[in-house]
């Protein structure tokens, strides 16, 4: 079974600065997908960014980018120019490309605080 670990329960960043959230995962598969979800106080789960394991290029979405290190099984999220609205819980998630159920395995989450 796959496991996803987020080793930072809480992080804080100054507004306009850059912060990196860590995620590691354990799998014996070679083909899979990785995701970062944001959960603001509203509780809604919002997809931030996705990465296909077969792609070497790191995914980017505006101020959000990932550092995907397949050999190290590491998938960190970098948030540039942090804004107050970035304050939220962030979850890293793994999905097998071969599992017929398409289910996600989540890490325990990192709470990000943004200081004005």
């Amino acid at each position: 079974a796959q496991t996803v670990t987020q080793s930072q329960p809480e992080m804080s960043v100054q507004e306009a600065e850059t912060v990196t959230l860590s995620c590691t995962y354990d799998t014996s598969e070679s083909d899979y997908y990785l995701f970062w979800y944001k959960q603001p106080p509203s509780r809604q789960m919002i997809l931030v960014i996705r990465q296909e394991a077969y792609k070497q290029q790191n995914a980017t979405e505006n101020r959000f980018s990932v550092n995907f290190q397949k050999a190290a099984k590491s998938f960190s999220l970098k948030i540039s120019d942090s804004q107050l609205g970035d304050a939220a819980m962030y979850f890293c998630a793994y999905r097998s490309a071969t599992n017929a159920g398409n289910m996600l395995t989540f890490g325990g989450g990192t709470r990000l605080m943004v200081k004005p």
Partner: protein
């Protein structure tokens, strides 16, 4: 938001009572999921469905059952609620075509408290 609604949004119940949570989607997605969210554990899969009347267990299925009699509805039942089932429950769907292929979208969540 992929047209996912959950009802009720909040519920307080007593130990030993049955509880049913409903998830409704408007876009005919084949795959639907129930997760529970607890501090330190992220979201964990309870059950999922891959079609009408086709369901399977997830990581934390003990004490829960599900049913899917229509494509749009996926019900989660706690036959006899326990305090350990106090949690936030999320329904999700998986997109299997188009630009959002392989992505999951979540409903707004249901906060359940078992006293």
């Amino acid at each position: 938001d992929a047209g996912i609604t959950q009802s009720p949004r909040h519920k307080v119940t007593e130990t030993g009572t049955p509880v049913t949570l409903r998830c409704h989607q408007t876009e005919n997605h084949r795959y639907m999921y129930w997760y529970r969210q607890d501090p330190g554990h992220g979201l964990r899969l309870i059950h999922y469905s891959y079609g009408v009347k086709d369901t399977d267990k997830g990581e934390v299925s003990d004490g829960y059952s599900v049913s899917r009699s229509k494509t749009e509805d996926f019900l989660l039942t706690l036959e006899s609620a326990t305090s350990s089932q106090t949690s936030v429950y999320f329904c999700a769907i998986s997109v299997t075509s188009g630009e959002a292929y392989n992505e999951q979208f979540f409903g707004p969540g249901t906060r359940l408290t078992v006293l």
